[in-house]
């Protein structure tokens, strides 16, 4: 008898707490302005052209490049393996499995950094994780990787080493190997939907 009373009191209290919670206009907004500002200040979401070249050459399977320009620009040129999600469609439910997931790193890019930053800010504030941007966008990609600047003869050895690396990367991306890869239409691996993380390992 008494346990019943206790249970009903707990239920009633929980119910009234739920009733007293203010209704939010859109429950999807998770970050607040100050938190978002702090996140932006940290700049940890920016991947440089050199880092991206490294990831692509090593064929890192954990990254997915997302071109946020419109489909015309995408059709003209896009990075190897990139998929196209025009910024306008970013929050459409059909792209949710790509944008809202925990299994891989998404790297947004555009010609500059404006569109990709917008995509990052919008997804970040909703609470999506694992999204990054290509710092400087395609312009930076071409000026550093595809057409690296020839250093001055007086430049320190590190600059020369960096130039050599970039030149080699450039050949990788512009040479026949890259062209062949582009011919075979890129088949994307199935993207797992967001799910609760389970403890890995153990006996099986």
């Amino acid at each position: 008898m008494n346990t019943r009373i206790i249970i009903s009191i707990i239920m009633i209290s929980l119910g009234s707490i739920a009733a007293m919670l203010p209704k939010t206009k859109n429950s999807s907004i998770q970050l607040k302005a100050d938190e978002l500002l702090r996140e932006m200040k940290r700049q940890t979401y920016v991947i440089s052209a050199d880092e991206l070249a490294d990831l692509l050459i090593n064929q890192d399977p954990s990254i997915l490049l997302i071109d946020v320009r419109d489909s015309v620009d995408y059709a003209q040129y896009h990075l190897p393996g990139a998929i196209n999600i025009p910024l306008k469609e970013l929050l459409d439910p059909e792209w949710a499995p790509y944008v809202d997931q925990i299994s891989q790193k998404n790297i947004f890019y555009s010609n500059g950094t404006t569109l990709s930053s917008e995509a990052w800010i919008l997804t970040k504030q909703i609470g999506f994780r694992n999204n990054y941007i290509l710092g400087g966008g395609l312009n930076k990609w071409f000026s550093t990787i595809i057409k690296p600047e020839f250093p001055a003869t007086s430049a320190p050895s590190e600059t020369w080493a960096l130039y050599e690396t970039r030149k080699a990367a450039s050949q990788y991306f512009t040479g026949s190997k890259a062209a062949d890869k582009e011919e075979n239409a890129v088949i994307l691996p199935p993207i797992p939907r967001k799910k609760k993380t389970r403890v890995q390992g153990g006996c099986s």
């Binding site: 008494n2 009373i5 206790i6 009191i9 707990i10 209290s13 009234s16 707490i17 007293m20 919670l21 203010p22 206009k25 859109n26 999807s28 907004i29 607040k32 302005a33 100050d34 938190e35 978002l36 500002l37 932006m40 200040k41 320009r69 419109d70 015309v72 620009d73 003209q76 040129y77 910024l87 306008k88 970013l90 929050l91 555009s110 010609n111 500059g112 950094t113 404006t114 569109l115 930053s117 917008e118 800010i121 919008l122 504030q125 909703i126 966008g137 395609l138 312009n139 071409f142 000026s143 595809i146 057409k147 450039s170 512009t174 040479g175």
Partner: protein
């Protein structure tokens, strides 16, 4: 008798808990966005919040039309800035001290070293509920270097998004 005591104590604790939860939720609303991500997406994909160099140049001749806000550090601001601008560093835009400036009806133009920073600040402030904000279409260095009038800005209308290369053609050359 003892049970009634335990029950009433439990009830009291739960009531206090409820009160606490409601109070914390209310007080946390300060930095809540007034616009949803979807509404914001619509705003950013119709980039009419960008203001051209020409428009700003014209306004310099008739002061009082716009308020220019420089988002760089105070040190950079002292170095050089657009005439008539005031300095609110990017990480300080939400400080209470600056609230009156953003609440003014006068149209405000944000600019920084890079237009990307200014655009990010614009997104935060607009979602936060401030109005009458524009972004200078280009960073301060582009402003300093460009004496000529507007060039074509491509299909996005955003200076930062102009492609500097013909990517496809460049790859064919190689």
């Amino acid at each position: 008798m003892k049970h009634i005591y335990i029950i009433s104590l439990g009830g009291l604790i739960l009531l206090m808990g409820m009160f606490f939860i409601v109070v914390t939720i209310q007080s946390n609303n300060h930095f809540k966005f007034k616009k949803t991500a979807r509404e914001m997406l619509l705003d950013v994909t119709t980039p009419d919040h960008y203001i051209s160099f020409d428009q700003v140049r014209e306004s310099l001749n008739s002061p009082g039309k716009y308020k220019l806000i420089d988002l760089r550090t105070p040190k950079e601001f002292v170095g050089s800035h657009i005439e008539g601008a005031i300095n609110i560093p990017f990480d300080r835009i939400l400080d209470e001290a600056h609230e009156p400036i953003f609440k003014e009806d006068l149209p405000k133009i944000l600019y920084g070293e890079s237009p990307v920073t200014a655009n990010a600040a614009w997104m935060v402030l607009t979602q936060y509920g401030y109005e009458n904000l524009s972004v200078l279409n280009g960073g301060i260095s582009a402003w300093m270097n460009s004496s000529k009038s507007e060039d074509t800005l491509g299909n996005t209308g955003i200076r930062d998004e102009i492609s500097n290369f013909d990517y496809a053609e460049l790859l064919d050359d190689n």
